[in-house]
């Protein structure tokens, strides 16, 4: 008997979040997804899971991770899959196609540049966020017009690889 099971009949939603757990941005987004869905239909079943992106390659998903998800969600269906941030989106697409083919996928926290790479995927929609470089530069030019240098602080995780390639 599966311990985790989606409720039947009222709709079930799986929210896929980027590793590591407990990131403030993930927590806030998840809370608002849950509250909005519950407000729309209190009977909706909501499940949440994380995808460890540190180990992922270009697709963001290893064969071991795919096996684990297949075992964990064997026989469990979802009506909608929501994913946060572009790197999670890239890992979630092969996961959906393998476990839940045809299930609609809704993304969030994805900018227009990242969406450009995904627009050919079927049954995908979502809400685009701003946050492009030029907006930051506009602000800098306005409030600090004498700026000559930009010190760019980034992590070195594999999650950054697709963006770097683009």
């Amino acid at each position: 008997m599966p311990v985790a099971s989606a409720a039947a009949g009222r709709g079930s939603v799986l929210v896929l979040l980027p590793d590591p757990p407990g990131r403030p941005v993930s927590t806030l987004v998840l809370e608002n997804i849950q509250s909005t869905l519950r407000a729309g239909d209190p009977g909706i079943s909501i499940s949440a899971d994380y995808i460890a992106l540190r180990a992922g390659g270009v697709s963001g998903l290893t064969a071991a991770q795919l096996s684990w998800f297949q075992a964990k969600y064997a026989g469990v269906r979802f009506d909608v899959i929501i994913v946060l941030e572009p790197q999670t989106m890239r890992a979630a697409l092969p996961l959906r196609n393998a476990l839940w083919p045809g299930t609609p996928l809704v993304f969030c926290g994805v900018g227009s540049r990242d969406y450009g790479d995904l627009r050919q995927e079927p049954e995908v929609t979502g809400a685009l966020v701003s946050g492009e470089v030029h907006e930051d530069l506009d602000v800098i030019r306005r409030i600090l017009p004498g700026t000559l240098h930009i010190a760019l602080v980034c992590g070195a995780s594999a999650a950054a690889a697709p963006t770097a390639r683009r």
Binding site: P24, V29, L30, V80, V139, I143, L144, H149, G155
Partner: protein, 724 residues
């Protein structure tokens, strides 16, 4: 332009984008550096540099690193302003900018999901902007980097701007001003009332003096008139006989001088003389005229009638009293005489009351004297108590009679508040003003000697005690001293008299004493996931020595400054809240920080009193790092308990800190867990391991349920690291 190093691909991509957007800017790549190295680098950046923090999920050692923590570490040492993508670093040291608000992102996405659940196809729903970005800046950072607020984009939100004294304490200032205005109005009203009372008292005394003077004048005139009448009467009584004697003697001399007196004429003259001589008493008498040696005599029947009514004297009822609106017991009786004290019949006597301060009387039908000169009327006191006079006089008379009457007050009927009607005092102390009342009869005349009973009507235990029993004085006044009992609160005290129709009501309030004790009301022993608000706000109750709630006491809540802790709504570890009318102070929402641990103490402090603490724990949801399985359920036919064994396996690569606890959400309806460790947010949970679970290791625990309907038992396990 700085050249990018190998392994810095992501920053190179963003750097390229920056260079494309602003080719004059030099990009300094700080990619994949550890925290210590980053601190050194941002402290030594060239002038006119802006630090942009982008995706930074892990440090080079592979440990998770949240951007907010990164910014809060770099900001104090950085020599340049730091900007970030989201508003999550606001308050941690980031300058701000056009920031993404994750709270809005989730809502926009969920609404798209709801459309799909409602039947729309995802491919038919166009991708749309989330509208989740806003211009947000930290006022402290603007000050630090000398950036004028006027240079910010329109509709920018500036956070953490310090409040002015007015913004901080406007309610207290308004309250104080309102209190001062009300107090001024109260003082003005009291002064006006005191002036009115003084003027009224002076008028009353002046009227009493005038009345007394008038009464003395009337008495003096009465005495003078009586003396005059007496003197006239004496002179008359003496002169008349003497004149008669003299006249008769002269007549006799003339008779004797005649040789042959004419007896008939003499007799006639004698009869006239005798008649005149005998006329003084007003009575009938017979005059017999005879001659010496005569055979017959002549008899005259004469009657002297009383003269005009002249004097009125009190016969009875001269001094008496009666209750208001009742008849005097004795009639007001007078005797009317003429100037020679002969009773005059048929004289109409007029009774006239001389009211004093409204006290007066009415009389029965007009009084006409009888044959003895007597008459009387019945007097009835009017509704006003007090002493006054009634005069009885006749038309053309020289002397009137005076009655001294007094209307006495009726039975005590009404009790009204004289002073001390509304007041307050600290519990177990005496009220400053005595509870004073005025007792009057049904006609508002003050009643003396009435016993007034003061009775407290306790409300939730708040009451008072009183001094000795109260008896009214001549003005109908009496008072008692009230002492508040040990319970704070508002209540009433009634003052009444036996058989009365209206009682007086005092509104008293016992106020709490000084704050003496602080106790935790709610919010103790809670747990919350990292970066998540605790479900119950922290509350304490402040009471005085008698356990009465004390309002207006400022309570300071303080969380630990390092390690597992959290922030209040003001994004600091300290907040203050005043106690309300129930003595309860409630802190703003407290949000766990990003560090697992606990229980740690959040203190609540009131100046001068012992500090109390809340035990809180920051937990972390590790459901994605574990595999939770169970062996299937076995039912005990005797006890009816369904039992299984739950196994939690660490499938991650790092230790899961203990205790490890599983919350059983979505448990099948009508199924109840027994033997659970506790309840978390209304859901049962069980402790699987008290110590840490290493990667690849497992922990097991037995779980039991009651399942009266023998349903298939399902649940969704949510695993936490940290005590719930």
């Amino acid at each position: 332009m700085r050249r990018f190093r190998r392994g810095r691909a992501y920053s190179a991509a963003i750097g390229s984008a920056l260079h494309e957007a602003a080719p004059r800017l030099e990009v300094i790549a700080l990619t994949g550096l550890g925290l210590a190295e980053l601190k050194d680098r941002v402290a030594a950046l060239p002038q006119q540099t802006v630090v942009l923090v982008y995706v930074y999920l892990y440090d080079p050692a592979g440990h998770p690193m949240f951007v907010g923590d990164l910014v809060s570490t770099l900001s104090p040492v950085s020599n340049s302003p730091i900007m970030e993508l989201t508003d999550l670093s606001m308050g941690a040291g980031a300058l701000g900018g056009h920031l993404l608000q994750p709270s809005k992102v989730g809502g926009a996405t969920a609404r798209l999901a709801l459309r799909i659940l409602a039947g729309e196809k995802a491919s038919d729903i166009p991708v749309q902007p989330a509208n989740a970005g806003s211009y947000i800046f930290d006022w402290r950072q603007l000050q630090r980097w000398k950036i004028p607020v006027s240079s910010l984009p329109p509709s920018s939100e500036v956070r953490y701007r310090p409040f002015s004294i007015w913004e901080h304490y406007w309610w207290a200032i308004m309250l104080a001003a309102l209190g001062a205005v009300l107090e001024s109005i109260l003082v003005a009203v009291l002064l006006w009332q005191r002036r009115q009372a003084r003027e009224t008292e002076a008028g009353r005394k002046r009227a009493e003096l005038e009345t007394a003077a008038a009464r003395d004048e009337i008495s003096h005139l009465n005495r003078v008139a009586s003396m005059g009448e007496l003197a006239a009467s004496l002179a008359h009584e003496l002169n008349q006989p003497l004149a008669g004697i003299l006249s008769n003697a002269q007549a006799a001399q003339r008779f004797l001088a005649q040789r042959e007196p004419d007896l008939g004429e003499r007799c006639a003259r004698l009869s006239k003389t005798s008649a005149r001589t005998m006329c003084a008493p007003a009575r009938s008498s017979a005059v017999t005229v005879s001659v010496s040696g005569g055979a017959t005599s002549a008899t005259f029947n004469l009657t002297n009638t009383a003269g005009a009514a002249s004097k009125v004297a009190v016969a009875s009822g001269g001094t008496q009293s009666a209750a208001v609106n009742t008849a005097f017991a004795n009639a007001l009786a007078v005797t009317v005489t003429d100037a020679n004290n002969n009773p005059v019949s048929g004289a109409t006597v007029t009774f006239t009351a001389v009211p004093v301060n409204g006290a007066s009387a009415t009389f029965s039908v007009p009084a006409i004297t009888d044959s003895n000169g007597h008459t009387s009327v019945t007097a009835t006191a009017n509704a006003t108590a007090g002493a006054y006079t009634v005069t009885a006089s006749v038309s053309g008379g020289t002397t009137s009679a005076t009655f001294n009457l007094t209307n006495t007050a009726g039975a005590a009927s009404k009790v009204t508040v004289a002073s001390g009607g509304t007041q307050s005092t600290v519990v177990t102390t005496a009220f400053a003003n005595a509870l004073a009342v005025t007792v009057t009869d049904a006609n508002n005349n003050p009643v003396s000697g009435a016993t007034v009973t003061f009775t407290a009507v306790p409300v939730n235990g708040a009451s008072a005690t009183f001094s000795i029993a109260a008896v009214t004085d001549s003005n109908g006044h009496t008072s008692v001293t009230a002492t508040a009992n040990a319970t704070a609160g508002a209540y009433t005290v009634t003052a009444s008299v036996s058989g009365g129709t209206a009682s007086a009501t005092f509104n008293l309030t016992n106020t709490a004493g000084a704050a003496s004790k602080v106790t935790v009301s709610s919010g103790n022993n809670q747990s919350a996931p990292l970066n998540t608000a605790f479900a119950t706000n922290l509350q304490v109750t402040v009471t005085d020595a008698n356990n009465n709630p004390v309002s207006g006491v400022m309570v300071t809540f303080t969380a630990p400054s390092s390690g597992a802790s959290g922030l209040f709504a003001n994004n600091t570890i300290t907040t203050q809240a005043p106690t309300n009318a129930s003595g309860v102070a409630t802190a703003t929402v407290f949000t766990a920080n990003a560090q697992v641990g606990g229980p740690y103490n959040v203190t609540a402090t009131v100046s001068g009193l012992p500090t109390v603490s809340f035990a809180l724990t920051n937990i972390v949801n590790v459901s994605n790092q574990v595999s939770v399985t169970e062996t299937g359920f076995a039912r005990n036919r005797t006890t009816g308990v369904w039992t299984s064994t739950m196994t939690v396996t660490n499938i991650g690569t790092t230790f899961i800190a203990g205790p490890v606890q599983v919350v059983l959400t979505n448990l099948t309806a009508t199924v109840a867990m027994t033997g659970n460790t506790g309840i978390y947010n209304g859901i049962p949970y069980i402790t699987v391991a008290t110590a840490s679970i290493a990667p690849g290791k497992s922990a097991t625990v037995s779980i039991q349920f009651t399942n009266p309907n023998s349903l298939s038992i399902t649940f969704t396990p949510v695993t936490y690291s940290g005590a719930l």
